[in-house]
Amino acid sequence: MTLKSGTTSACAACKYQRRKCIPECLLAPYFPADQTKVFQNAHKLFGVSNIVKILKSLDPSQHAEAMRSIKYQANVRDKFPVYGCLGVIRQLYYQIQLLEEEFHSVLSQLEMYRQYHHEVPSQLELGMAPPTNGLHFLTAVPDMPVSMQHSYSNSNNIGYCSSYVDSKDHNNNNNNSNSNSNNNNNNNNSLWIQHPFLATNNSSSSNSNENNPLMAIQSQLLVSNTQPLVIQHEVVQDYDELHPFFDTIDDRQSFIHSKEPYDSSCEDSAKETTQAIELVPNNELKNAAACFSLTSVH
């Protein structure tokens, strides 16, 4: 093992290449001797020469950030040899979609409560009895979330509109909020089908890369983000941190061209949500009946 002059050992890069690690070694600050696996991942994906080429094309102040992203990308590729970071992006898109679905669902519930909250005081002022309306509202609650779940995106929910939805809709050339299924299709199309490299029947030429919606999404995301994008220093030094998230994911599934697992997951989550909602009415009706019986005595 060749050691640098002094007490410091060679960096992981030079140690792997069995060469003397000079003080001016470009990779030494980023591949310490105790991170051999990280270097091996980066070397396996990019190669030392390509990494050095990337670094030399950048300003020295950007080297740290670039190396963090390179190491992260290599570690993800090591863990997921088939899809790499693209799989992570897909999972995040899916996660965002689920969150937005829940967001709209809860928003619709909130609107109903707000409406009820405004109706009751006015009825009390007129001397009208609220319980019947409350009972009607109670019976309506179990149904509406289910239907609203499918049509929530048609409502004009101001105030809680996600700007990401707007940008995403803009990227998908979808100016108005369509149905949930359309959103799913658009998301799938923008991510996986319209990309010329990922489509099976897309015969677009290389010139269409600039018009690629997937890259457009990334560019849009990068451009629309007004905050400076700074990768924090604590990148995946120990890429085992990825395990809690990715243990549940099977990279070996070919899900890009097969939408069935994706759709079935959506359907399963929707079914669970629906079941959770459908279980409520019985309890609500019982409570409502109890209230009604109590008030009717007097």
Binding site: Y72, V82, E102, F197, Q218
Partner: protein, 163 residues
């Protein structure tokens, strides 16, 4: 885009770029058709042909096309953004996820507040709880580890965050 049939008269994009004879058993030919020269150029520029060849051979045959396409995407992203590459998109999406979660928490709080006020008035039952798909027993839905999903800081701070 995999080419099911390969003719030696039409070298694949890789062999055309590398200026070599495209053999019938060329590892690149099914995934780098001659109609998409830029795809291989990008991949070669970032990862190198030998690395790509090794990565292709390590993956099962039915997954090679997906692997190549993901490499092509990452290469293109790295060329567009040499500093962050596709990791920049991951960071942005993670921040979106966190923002949506915060908004969801806020709207849940509002919902509970309204429902509580309504319950106090008319003895209504509490609102429908938050859907439990985040805690799906099958584990398919991931509630992100805050440390792993800590967004890229925009305030110039250099501490914290796992990404």
């Amino acid at each position: 885009m995999a080419s099911s049939s390969h003719s030696s008269n039409f070298p694949c994009a890789a062999c055309k770029f590398l200026r070599r004879k495209c053999m019938p058993d060329c590892v690149f030919a099914p995934y780098f058709p001659p109609e998409e020269p830029q795809k291989f150029i990008n991949v070669h520029k970032i990862f190198g042909a030998s690395n790509v060849s090794k990565l292709i051979n390590e993956v099962a045959p039915h997954q090679r096309e997906d692997a190549v396409n993901s490499l092509a995407y990452e290469a293109e992203a790295r060329l567009k953004d040499p500093v962050y590459g596709c990791v920049g998109a991951i960071s942005i999406l993670q921040r979106q996820v966190l923002r949506l979660q915060r908004e969801l928490d806020a709207i849940h709080a509002d919902l509970i507040r309204y429902a509580t006020a309504t319950c106090n008035c008319n003895e209504m039952p509490p609102p429908l709880g938050r859907t439990c798909f985040h805690h799906n027993s099958s584990g398919n839905i991931y509630y992100p580890n805050p440390r792993w999903n800590e967004p890229y800081g925009g305030n110039g701070r250099s501490d914290g965050g796992s990404l």
